[in-house]
Every structure is written in structure tokens, then in C-alpha cells.
Amino acid sequence: MREPEGGGRLVHRFGRTERALHWTHATAFFVLLGTGLVLWLPQLSVLVGKRSLVKDVHVWTAVAWAVAIVLVIALGNRQTLRAYWREIETIDRDDRRWLLGRRAPQGRFNAGQKLNVIMTAAFALLFAASGVLLWLAARESRFRWDGPIVVHDALTLASLALLVGHLYLAVIHPTTRHALRGMTLGSVREEWARKHHPKWIEENERKSGSS
């Protein structure tokens, strides 16, 4: 392990595939959110104008997002991705206690992070499905339901709430913002991880001890 400034050992948290997935999604999300809000809110629509350009950017970013996500998964390390997803899906007894506001030791991901990933993934699929239907409805009336627009709107509000919480914890909140290092450089300080994700470090030590 390298010695970072400020001392302390580093521990690997996210590989290239996970980071590529995160930043691909994040970049596309910001473009889609910005253009989407301009299309959605009349005040913003007037302020910005150029509606057809904004619409094109929104739609083509969505296409680029889908292609990029598929490429990252196809070209990336699917084995580790599967392992991460398995971890994320597993909400164990400690996670449930943690979600109820009690202190409980957490693994590589705490229960909040797990729910964040689960919601983000589900929202992305629903955004895509409702978005495709909205696109089709503007071309062909038989693809028009009431639902897609309601769902696309609700997802926007829910994602905004999720984003605000995520940004606060990742960038501002003093005890959690160190996690950003894991998502940019791939590793975090072991001492920090031991405090916030003790089960993960213990498991790592058990593995390296047994091997």
C-alpha cells in the first residue's frame, strides 16, 4: 500500500469499471436533469429558449447514456460488478438495524448506500422506459398513455431528492465526504474505512489472513 499525504494505509474500494459506471451515469444524469428541467418548467423554458435544441440534447444524451452504460458493462469487469451488486442487494440484520437509526457495524457499503444504488438503478430503468414512451407518443398516438409523463415527473422529483442527499454526503458532510476519494481515485484511508465500514475491513483481513 502506498502512503498518502497525512499518513495511513489505503484500501481499494472501487475498480475502474465501477468508477466508469458511476461517472458515466453521473455526467449523463446532470445533462439530462438540466435539459429536462428546462423542458419541464415553463419559467426556465422561456429563460433559455432554443427549445428544439434543448429537446435534441435531452434525447440524444439519453441515447448516449444507454449506449455508454451498456459499453461499460460489456467492456468492464463484470465479475466484480456482479460481486458489488450481490453485496448491495444483501440487506443483512446489521443493515436493517442501521436503517432503523441504531448503531450497527457496516460492510463496504452501508445500508443507505445500498438503498441509494438500488433506487438509482431502478429509477434509471424507469426513466428510460417512460422516456421512450414519451418519445413514441409524440410520433404516434397509439403509444400515448397518461402514465409515462406522470412517472417521468415523479422520477425527476425523487431523483432530485436522492441527488441532494448524495451530494451532501459525498461533498459536504465531514465524516462521509472522504468516500469521494474512493469514487475518484479508487481507494480510501483504511483508518476511515475501519471506523465507518468495519465489517469490510475485518473481512479483508480475514481473507488475506487465510490466503
Binding site: R51, R86, L134, D146, V150, V151
Partner: protein, 225 residues
């Protein structure tokens, strides 16, 4: 219970709820509307206007703007905004329903009844249809004379006590409360009085010309009634 099933269930649960929303959107939204207090719902941009355009909000110079009324009329008109305001003005409060599923209730409109406009131009006896051209080319739409003469149809100049804003069709737009919003051509700059029917922009995309609310554009899944 298997711990892993919990996260899986949460994931599939959200997908299921979303799919339900896509298929039964209105009902789900109504249910949610009942669960969310009005004060909260009022702040959320889920209610109220959405601005749809096909090419973008057109730039219009108010001083140069003219509404042409031509075709089967004795006196073709070219009306400035002041000319339009000099015609008899009517007021109404009506609901606005969009074919994509959103509505705005109790919109206050003021403007000109089509009968007054057609009297000014002298519509000829064989006139049957009004074709509205928008400054937003190529948006057009058509109303029959009977539809345009409904007591709550008008060429609006004001919305909610103020001149129409740009996104709502300044300086003038069609208001047709008994039909879906795409019949309400915005930024109208020409009314062509015709004998024959011409399909509108959305009608060439499969939407109904007689876009009566609740009686047209039936949902694909529900089938035609």
C-alpha cells in the same frame, strides 16, 4: 428470510411501482394526489402548465405582428394587436386538458369570439372550416365552423388577467376547452377560412381531429370505445 432477497425485492418493488404508474398513471397520480396535502402539491411542478412546442417558442415583434383572416371571406383582414383588442371582447373561465394527461383548472381567458371575428371579415356561406396557422411553422390545426362557434371557444388575447405570455401563445391563441390542448393553436398569425378540411400537425401524427375530451384519442391499451 434470505438477506439478499430484501434488496432484490426493493429493486423489483420500485420497478413494479413504476410500471404500474406507466400503465395506470392517472389513477396512481390521483391516489398520490390524495395522499399528498394540497400545500405540498401546489409547490410541486406536477400541476400546472407544461409548454410544448414542435420548433420552439417563436420570436414575434408586437409592433409588426398582423393576424390575417383570408380565404372565403368578403373582407380579408390584417389585424394588429390593437385592432384585435378593438373587437368585441369576451371572457370565460374554463379548464385546460392536455392529451398527454395533465390539466389546468379554472383558467381565466379573455379574447374574441369567432363569430365576432367572422362577422368582421364577412364569412361566405360555403365556409365550413377554419384553418389556423401558427408563427411556429409548420404547426397548423383546423376547427369546423360549428366547433369554433361553441360558446366557450375563442381566440384569446389574455390569460389570467394579463396579456398572453410568450410560452402561452402571445399575442393570440385558440382556446378550445372541450377539446385537447393540441387544438389550441398558439401564436396564431393566419386564419384561413375554407370549404374543405385540412388535417392539423398532430393529426398527421395519428391524433384525432375531433379531439373531444374523453371521447377521442382513446388509449391504446383500453382500445376504442
Amino acid at each position: 428470510m434470505n438477506d439478499r432477497l430484501i434488496g432484490r425485492a426493493a429493486f423489483l418493488g420500485i420497478l413494479g411501482a413504476g410500471a404500474a404508474g406507466i400503465f395506470w398513471g392517472r389513477n396512481v397520480a390521483d391516489l398520490a394526489g390524495r395522499l399528498v396535502p394540497d400545500q405540498v402539491a401546489g409547490v410541486l411542478p406536477t400541476k400546472g402548465w407544461r409548454i410544448y412546442t414542435i420548433r420552439g417558442i417563436p420570436r414575434i415583434d408586437p409592433a409588426a405582428f398582423r393576424l390575417r383572416v383570408d380565404g372565403l371571406v368578403d373582407r380579408p383582414l390584417s389585424l394588429s394587436i390593437d385592432d384585435l383588442r378593438a373587437l368585441p371582447q369576451a371572457k370565460q373561465v374554463s379548464d385546460f386538458h392536455c392529451v398527454t394527461g395533465w390539466s389546468v383548472e379554472d383558467v381565466h381567458w379573455a379574447g374574441i369570439r369567432f363569430d365576432d371575428l367572422l362577422a368582421e371579415a364577412g364569412a361566405q356561406p360555403e365556409a365550413r372550416w377554419l384553418q389556423f396557422y401558427s408563427e411556429e411553422v409548420p404547426y397548423v390545426d383546423t376547427l369546423s365552423l360549428e366547433q369554433a362557434r361553441l360558446p366557450d371557444a375563442m381566440l384569446a388575447l389574455d390569460m389570467d388577467g394579463k396579456p398572453l405570455t410568450k410560452p402561452h401563445g402571445f399575442p393570440t391563441r385558440v382556446v378550445m376547452p372541450q377539446m385537447y390542448g393540441y387544438k389550441g393553436v398558439k401564436w396564431v398569425n393566419r386564419i384561413h377560412v375554407r370549404r374543405d378540411f385540412v388535417p392539423g400537425y398532430w393529426e398527421t401524427h395519428g391524433y384525432d381531429s375531433d379531439a373531444w375530451i374523453g371521447k377521442s384519442n382513446f388509449l391504446y391499451l383500453e382500445g376504442k370505445e
